[in-house]
Amino acid sequence: MESNALKLRSRLSPSHQIPVSSANPEEFEQQLISTIQKAPSLFQFAPTILDVSSLAPIPEASDIQAILQICRKNRLVPYALTSTDTGHRNIAHILGLAWVEFKAGNAQKAPAAQQPLITETKVVTTPVRSGQQIYAKDANLLITSQVSAGAEVIADGSIHILGALRGKAIAGAQGATHSEVICQQMSAELIAISGTYLLQEDFPEGSGCARCRLDADHIVIDYL
């Protein structure tokens, strides 16, 4: 009899990458809590990669274990480590975590001068519907129609929407802090620019045409 092999599906799903800047558990927890408070619903049981690049010398596995516990206590689901230093890899193995190659996603770290100039534009002419996701890699994103509630549009550069934005828009996905989200009718569920988020409930009063940009570490929405 033939044995039943499992059907594998490879999938890409978004994760948070959280920088661990301190191996001191109390200090880390404080930082984590203040980050989560900015957008609690985003962090509910979110798959999370811990970036331990700045932990030098290489910490003990037990130190990272303590960090993991703090994450779980705060309803994150850490499943992998990453670091610029592959010397951290062994800790991932010891703790039964995945190891993922380092990817710079942290805007605050990347100085503006090093940000690549994004000149390409991806154009989408059909409505982006609930459940769909559009990603403009290394490009700006122009949507000539609308983005429904439950849809997600992501760009490494800026996002322009000529219709209504009712879903989520994530600009500067690789950390380009000067990215913006501009739409004709602002009813977004969430705006993110370069890793900083703002949820609908925290939007300023207003409606209609809007421009969203990053000012230092918070998102500004100007109604035009």
């Binding site: 609930s130 769909q132 439950g150």
Partner: protein, 269 residues
């Protein structure tokens, strides 16, 4: 050239089967040879609304699996000789529908029929995807409430990205919005979304508005597609819908709350 029309919604119980029955009867009455296929495997009910449940011998899955020929499974409607029904199986599981199997049956039907109407099951899973995969046109059935509109939006996304037309870079599926169970009085009270709201959210052309109507229940209890109840509001709204599908330009009716008549004003109600 045959046209394949899927009647779909995402959300359950919004009026897909009612619509499939009415539209297929309407097209057939207009002289177009039409077949309506029940994709809701396991839950047969198109045949009940069409009043042919006692005449089902073979079904869609039998044909796909080669246990019966198409001619053995097709049931001719007793009221209109241009209309045929391909019933669903009550007993088999949903995975019996395969892309290849469905395509073979549709190709065969295309040679004989002008319109092929696919009555989709609820949801966005396999059965619903099979029903819409080969469609040329889609009638997206939506009730005036947020969850139904949201599900319709999802189905529109699937039509755009996972249909045969989308996967083969052909012109997209021609999408039509049909608002059913519409009750203008409840819109005024703020209990239901307005037609303008729904059109704004979905950005799809409006094919018709079917009012909430007792006639639909009566019709399905009698096993008659409601379009045959020519005096009823829902029957007339479905007739307009079919006419528009065939290219007629008709104004939308039954979209405004009726002014209460004199007696109703005096006696309430």
């Amino acid at each position: 050239m045959a046209t394949i029309i899927v009647v779909t919604s995402g959300k359950g119980g919004v009026g897909k089967t009612t619509t499939s029955a009415a539209v297929s009867m309407g097209l057939a009455q207009a002289g177009h040879k039409t077949v309506v296929i029940d994709f809701d495997i396991g839950l047969r009910n198109l045949d009940i609304i069409m009043n042919c449940e006692r005449r089902v011998v073979f079904d869609f899955v039998n044909v796909i699996q080669g246990d019966a020929s198409l001619n053995q499974a097709l049931i001719k409607d007793k009221r209109c000789d241009k209309l045929f029904i391909l019933p669903a199986s009550q007993t088999r599981d949903k995975d019996a529908l395969t892309k290849d199997g469905v395509q073979q049956v549709l190709n065969q039907l295309k040679q004989d029929f002008e319109f092929i109407i696919c009555d989709s099951p609820a949801g966005i899973e396999h059965g619903a995807q099979m029903a819409l995969y080969f469609a040329d046109k889609a009638i997206v059935v939506t009730n005036p409430e947020v969850s139904s509109v949201r599900d319709s939006d999802r189905i529109l996304g699937i039509l755009q990205s996972k249909s045969y037309r989308a996967e083969n870079n052909m012109p997209p599926v021609d999408e039509h919005l049909l608002i059913t169970r519409f009750d203008p009085a409840r819109v005024i009270k703020g209990e239901m979304l307005s037609i303008a709201d729904i059109e704004d959210i979905l950005a799809v052309k409006l094919l018709g508005v079917i009012p909430e109507s007792q006639a639909v229940l009566n019709a399905s209890n009698n096993g008659t597609p409601v379009i045959l109840d020519e005096k009823s509001d829902a029957g007339q709204a479905y007739q307009d819908t079919v006419a528009r599908l065939l290219g007629d330009d008709r104004p939308h009716r039954f979209t405004e709350a009726q002014k209460k008549g004199f007696l109703q004003r005096v006696f309430g109600g």
